[in-house]
Amino acid sequence: MTVSQILFILFALATLVAAYLVVTVRNLIHAALWLVASLLGIAAIFVMLDASFMATVEVVLYVGAIAILIVFAVMLTRRVMEDVGSQRTDNWWFAAILSGLFFASTSILIWFTKWPNLPEGDVGDTVLILGKSLVDPNKYVIPFEVASVLLIVALIGSIAVALPSKQSE
């Protein structure tokens, strides 16, 4: 059992426990904070896979922007913060069977796929390769530009939904 395996098991366990607590804890703010903990666990696993750029991007975007958005949304609707009802509905057995089927099918899919091997040795600076392939006409430039259009659509959509209508004031 090498050190990196032990570390991976630790981080994976921490992430899973935090993810479990997100859905079972009653206080919504605590759930949001456990979400932050599980996201940081995922970032640590990215680091162990030598994807340091992805780990940093995940912390910047998820913890630095999206978690704050979620916490804002929860805090600004404070009336509904305490979840006092029962945690289960009447059809919980059906949901359990469905999610068990989903888990089993995904596990079989992951286990039996022939994943391509990672290139051996040192490939150089991964961020440089990513940057060059993002603007290479043979590689990913179309998704790169479409991503900007997608972002502007998201911006316009969210402003259209969230902005209070000016006429009523």
Binding site: S4, A65, F72, V127, G131, V135, L151, I152, L163
Partner: protein, 118 residues
């Protein structure tokens, strides 16, 4: 490459220890004279009235929304900036197109009044 991050992990753990140490020392050596008046919430000497909740001001949320969009844009631009020195001029123009499209989004938000603090 992952072993470079071990120092970061060590420093973050040390940071937690160094920050928690004064707090623990404080809770040990400080006097403990509990009084119900001390535990009340502070409101410039007056008593609080009503629940602790504040008026929903949608501006806070809209600023965070716009920030998320711009954050994703900037994160896309970092690999482009790192590869900048080895890119042909056409690739630099592609990045500039990316920025200009999102600047158009900022202009839309500005004209719609989403960036005003009313």
């Amino acid at each position: 490459m992952a072993h470079e991050w071990i120092f970061i992990g060590i420093l973050l753990l040390l940071g937690i220890v160094f920050a928690a140490l004064p707090i623990v020392v404080n809770s040990i050596i400080a006097p403990r004279k509990p009084h119900p008046l001390k535990n009340e919430t502070y409101e410039c000497g007056m008593e609080t009235v009503g629940d602790t909740w504040i008026q929903f001001k949608v501006q806070y949320y809209i600023f965070s929304l716009v920030f998320v969009i711009f954050d994703v844009e900037i994160v896309f631009l970092f690999p482009w900036a790192v590869a900048y020195k080895e890119l042909p001029f056409f690739a630099v123009v592609e990045g500039v197109i990316f920025i200009v499209i999102l600047a158009g989004g900022l202009l839309y938000a500005w004209r719609k009044g989403a960036l005003d603090w009313v």
